[in-house]
């Protein structure tokens, strides 16, 4: 096999890999089921039937239609129903998918302005906070593409050890490291998100998993807390290191959705 044939083989392999990936992505992206439910939910919202709209959006989520706009619409329904806790919960869930959506940003700020408890803003800039501007899909696919190019150029270097391949490899190596780290951090943040939102209007936080235990402090709907371990219908939550205690599990919903074992997807 001469050198030209080898290069052709590499390029063909690369294109084949791209084709497979694009096909798989398109298959998943163009899923059209549940479209009617979506339209019905939108119509119900417009008619002011927010309960019906919310239940239709939830139906879609249960059916696996997990995306930012569905959560955003569901958050709007709860906002209209004057349930800021559930609204913030769904806006926060939507933010994981559409982090730069200006409508979502506005509505979330609007909802936060209406909650009773003061939530401290993060004081300093961190890399993981900056990564919050991108969703997991964007970061992952960027890394997949860079990863693909990186290995393709490494394969080419088996036969073409010229200057340009060296500099391309150096550039791709740098991008590979940056995106590799970003993907790792994002993956960790996504899979270890223990934040929860108080979904009932007022809750009392106790020193133990019993209503007879000392009341430590009170929280109101929409406040974001960190969820810790759960025990017999009670859960430890933490607002700040000084403000920590037990509440009933149903008073708080976690922003991260549990993974469904059969489909592998995220479900409420």
């Amino acid at each position: 096999m001469n050198r030209l044939k080898k290069i052709n083989l590499t390029i063909s392999s690369f294109l084949l890999m791209c084709l497979i990936m694009i096909t798989v992505v398109r298959d998943y992206s163009s899923a059209e089921t549940g479209h009617e439910t979506f339209l019905q939910a939108n119509q119900a919202y417009k008619e002011g039937n927010y309960e019906k709209a919310a239940s239709s959006y939830q139906e879609l989520i249960i059916a696996g239609k997990i995306n930012g706009s569905i959560f955003y619409n569901l958050g709007n329904c709860y906002m209209r129903m004057n349930r800021p806790g559930k609204a913030i919960l769904n806006y926060e869930r939507a933010r994981r998918f559409i982090p730069r959506d200006p409508d979502l940003d506005f509505n979330l700020r609007y909802a936060r302005d209406r909650i009773k408890d003061r939530i401290g803003n993060p004081s300093s800039f961190t890399f993981s906070q900056w990564l919050n501007n991108f969703n997991w899909s964007e970061i992952f696919w960027s890394f997949v593409i860079i990863n693909l190019f990186f290995w393709v150029i490494l394969i080419l270097r088996l036969w073409i050890k010229s200057e340009w391949t060296f500099y391309v490899l150096m550039g791709l190596s740098l991008l590979w490291i940056v995106f590799g780290i970003s993907t790792g951090i994002k993956w960790y943040v996504e899979t270890h998100d223990t934040r929860g939102v108080v979904v009932v209007s007022e809750i009392t936080v106790h020193a133990g998993p019993d209503e007879k235990d000392t009341t430590l402090f009170k929280l109101h709907a929409g406040t974001i807390v960190t969820c810790e371990r759960e025990d017999q219908g009670w859960r430890i939550i933490q607002l700040t290191p000084e403000k920590r205690g037990w509440i009933k599990s149903e008073w708080v919903d976690q922003i991260a959705l549990p993974r469904h074992k059969t489909t592998g997807g995220l479900h409420p």
Binding site: V25, H35, N67, Y72, F106, Y110, V152, L154, G265
Partner: protein, 590 residues
């Protein structure tokens, strides 16, 4: 070419004329000023009085009031023409020399001149004529220094004028001055020095006068030590003692004598400022001050602005003029401008002006009284605290077109920008739901499990490993194949030799030899010349005597093959030689 040059010249001339014509309109307005070289003299002195007429290059001689107690002599006229930033400035000076007839304090001026049926008047000046003070030490000596203080008692922070005069009748050079340095006293030089002729006891002196502003920082008794002048006195040479024509000042042989002269010491007393009747807003300002206020325009529409200015000017410690604050006025927004302080250090002391401005934006129709602004200071002349205030001003406001309230900055006022209104939120609500069809799209990443996602990431490196492995094994196979061919080359060679039918098949011998060398050394194939074989052997590590020998044998074989000449015994001989050399080469290559 000539025509174009003429065109350029024509253009330049027209432009210059246009420029001169246009700037001619921008000439400064007419004004008249009086100026004196001194304000304190003796009856024997002559004062230079100058009348400057600005804005005109021709004018009749001015008439000056208050010159009756003086002998007046005209000193001529001079004119100047300046063009700065497109503005023409013309000045005409009339010079007079006046000599007092008696002692006293005289007010000179105003000078007035009539131009185009309009009369212009100058300011007035005060001239003090007093008898000559008794001079320290050597009266009638060629050099002496005097020092004087404007007052012998005063207050902490008050400005005194310390005047030093150096009188001389002989030429001096390299004059230097050491003013006194006293702890608790701050001294600042006032302007440049003055030089004039003064007459003392019938003798004319050239005088150098310097002035300092002096301020005491604490109360108590002070003594100002003498001010010293150091100089080199030019000594006149006796014409009879001149030894050569070059012993002359022109040739630089003038002799100089160093001289140091001190003034008289001055004792004075400083008091603390009186505590009685000290105003609460007193900022430490001492001197003489005045205050005026302007309001422009005096009538505005709603939400338009008027500028209220307060100007405080005076003589003394002007840096302590405080920044005034305008009290709040109902229905008027006020925007303060940065105060501007101008300090002048003149021969008569430190003076200055502080200008404070506010933009007033009335919000309601009607009339508003602008609050009176006041300021207190200590006047050392009257030895009392004084208060100055602005006159009451009224701003009339008419109904404006634009009812919206806006903030107007100074810059906006200056360039008359249209008033812009702030965008106000009239309501607030959440944004509507997402209805577009893209809202239903689900990203694959959401669905896929981590292990599937990992496959996407691991597929390319896996592909690399596979291709790398295949490539490597292919190379190995090729290498093994070559090694096997090399290994079998010798066997093949001797098998071929055996197959030769007789000694005359030299061309076959050469073919077999070439085949052996090609295979054994992994060459590309084809026939090799003796030289090529020699080079290849050297490249493959065969040492020198052997390669030379091989070259000779192969060369011999070549000549026998291509010439066709050769006997049987020679053919046998060359065959044996080839076999022998191949054995040696094979051994060497191993």
């Amino acid at each position: 070419m000539v025509a174009s040059k003429q065109g350029i010249l024509y253009f330049i001339t027209i432009s210059a004329l246009f420029l001169l014509y246009s700037v001619g309109w921008a000439k400064s307005p007419v004004s008249i000023y009086l100026k004196m070289d001194r304000t304190e003299v003796t009856p024997a002195d002559t004062v230079k009085l100058m009348v400057t007429i600005k804005g005109e290059k021709k004018a009749s001689a001015p008439s000056i009031s208050g010159l009756e107690p003086f002998h007046v002599r005209q000193g001529g006229t001079s004119s100047r023409f300046q063009m700065i930033n497109g503005e023409i400035s013309r000045e005409l000076d009339y010079i007079f020399y006046i000599t007092p007839k008696r002692t006293g304090i005289f007010i000179i001026g105003p000078a007035q001149v009539t131009l185009k049926k309009k009369t212009y008047k100058s300011q007035t000046l005060k001239l003090t004529v007093q008898d000559a003070p008794s001079q320290p030490g050597d009266e009638g000596a060629p050099f002496f220094v005097t020092a004087a203080l404007s007052a012998d008692t005063g207050y902490v922070g008050q400005q005194f004028i310390y005047t030093v005069k150096f009188y001389r009748t002989q030429d001096v050079r390299d004059i230097s001055l050491t003013p006194p340095d006293v702890e608790g006293l701050a001294m600042k030089r006032l302007g440049d020095h003055k030089e004039y002729i003064s007459s003392l006891q019938g003798k004319n002196y050239s005088v150098i006068e310097l002035r300092y502003s002096l301020t005491a920082e604490r109360p108590g008794s002070f003594v100002l030590p003498p001010t010293y002048f150091k100089m080199s006195v030019l000594e006149r040479q006796d014409p009879f003692s001149r030894r050569s024509p070059f012993d002359d000042s022109f040739f630089g042989f003038t002799r100089t004598r160093p001289l140091s002269l001190g003034s008289n010491a001055i004792e004075f007393f400083i008091k603390s400022l009186p505590d009685e009747e000290r105003p609460q807003d007193f900022s430490g300002l001492i001197g003489q001050f005045s205050m005026k206020a302007t309001l422009l325009p005096q009538e505005v529409k709603e939400n338009e602005s008027a500028t209220f200015s307060v100007i405080i000017s005076g003589k003394g410690n002007v840096r302590l003029i405080p920044d005034l604050k305008i009290p709040e006025v109902e229905d008027v927004r006020t925007y303060a401008d940065q105060p501007v302080l101008n300090v002048q250090t003149g021969f008569d002391g430190i003076s200055g002006t502080k200008t404070m401005k506010w933009a007033l934006v009335p919000q309601k129709e009607g009339s508003i009284r602008i609050p009176i602004m006041s300021l207190s200071y200590f006047d050392p002349n009257s030895e009392s605290y004084r208060r100055i205030a602005t006159k009451p001003l009224t701003l009339r406001i008419t109904q404006g077109k634009n009812q919206q309230k806006v903030a107007i900055t100074e810059e906006r006022i200056a360039i008359k920008e249209p008033v812009k209104s702030e965008v106000k939120m009239e309501g607030i609500d959440i944004f509507s739901i997402h209805e577009r069809s893209e809202a239903m799209k689900v990203r694959m990443v959401t669905y896929l499990d981590t292990w599937i996602l990992c496959l996407f990431l691991l597929a390319p490196p896996f592909g690399f490993i596979v291709i790398f492995g295949v490539n490597r094994s292919r190379r190995k196979i090729e290498a093994d194949k070559k090694a096997l061919t090399k290994k079998r080359a010798k066997q093949k060679f001797f098998k071929g030799i055996k197959a030769l039918r007789g000694p005359y098949q030299l061309s076959d011998l050469m073919r077999i030899t070439n085949l052996y060398l090609n295979e054994r050394m992994g060459l590309g194939g084809g026939s090799l010349t003796s030289n090529e074989a020699y080079e290849a052997l050297l490249t493959n590590g065969v040492k020198r005597p052997l390669t030379d020998e091989a070259k000779e044998i192969l060369s011999h074989l070549e000549s026998m093959v291509y010439t066709g000449a050769g006997e049987e015994d020679k053919a046998i001989k060359i065959k044996e030689n080839v076999m022998m050399i191949i054995k040696k080469i094979d051994k060497e290559l191993q």
